[in-house]
Symmetry: none
Amino acid sequence: MGLNSWIRKWQSILLYGSLMAILLFLLKWLEWRFIILTHGFEVYAGCLAIIFTLLGIWLSRKLFKPKTETLIVETQVLVKTVQFILDELEMGRLGLSKRELEVLQLMAEGLSNEEIASKLFVSLNTVKTHSSNVYDKLQVRRRTHAVDRARKLSLIP
Amino acid sequence: MGLNSWIRKWQSILLYGSLMAILLFLLKWLEWRFIILTHGFEVYAGCLAIIFTLLGIWLSRKLFKPKTETLIVETQVLVKTVQFILDELEMGRLGLSKRELEVLQLMAEGLSNEEIASKLFVSLNTVKTHSSNVYDKLQVRRRTHAVDRARKLSLIP
DNA sequence: TTGAAAATCACTCAAAAGTATGAGCATAAA
DNA sequence: TTTATGCTCATACTTTTGAGTGATTTTCAA
């Protein structure tokens, strides 16, 4: 509960307290004027009870705020992604290493393992190892499938 | 509001009414015994007021179900699926046949030639022929390269 | 400094992909 | 009717890719 509403709550309590006091005085005044003269004490007490019960109900409804239920509605917003943003979260989740991502990117550009090897200045076998690791981590068995999945996971543009 | 809860509500009201009556009798009894003898009438009325205010609060909280206020929070979810439109012009320029495009699309989804064959109900050799033709027309020598180029030419999503 | 993860490389075998060539069939256009 | 095109399939062969295993070096954080 925020400070503001806390203050408002106690302001309300003071206000209602004052109202109660005024009511009591009113009743006291009425007592001498009419009620006691014409009715018995029980009627007076009954009126008092009813009035303050109603006051209590009113007070309660003012003081205690209704429970708020948050309903989250997702609105889809179509956005033309001009710029590619790597999904670091997915990267972490899959445990893809930097080198493996590099190989994946070059694979996506259509390079053969041989071409990737010469581009990264490593041996063909190294590229094979990296790509195999990528396949394991993406749970696929072919490079085309790996590329497709990686694209859908925002690992490559 | 259901019938059941409606009955319960009026049951409650009767119950609380009875309780109020009992309380009044109790207070009346106490009045003669102690309170009036030792304290002034104002104190008695004050006690009455406080008790019935509390009773009212309690009553209110029991009777009136807390209204659940639904707070709708809208969160925007980015959807980057821009409607894909096949570049018919490029299709005509390259002379890709319908079947070849089909094979290309399935290739892009990461399917093997074998899988494409069974999906299209043709033989593996047929798929090989189609894919070879695709490579020729896209001027590439590998399926990953073909997929990359096709994507850039808006032949596939 | 030490231990774990990452990066590097090799070797083998198997599977998949790609090349080349030829051919049958259907259909639509010339 | 002839021709061209697309789709189908086959065989033979080469190249590339992928799986599995094992090993060494590098890097980086605890």
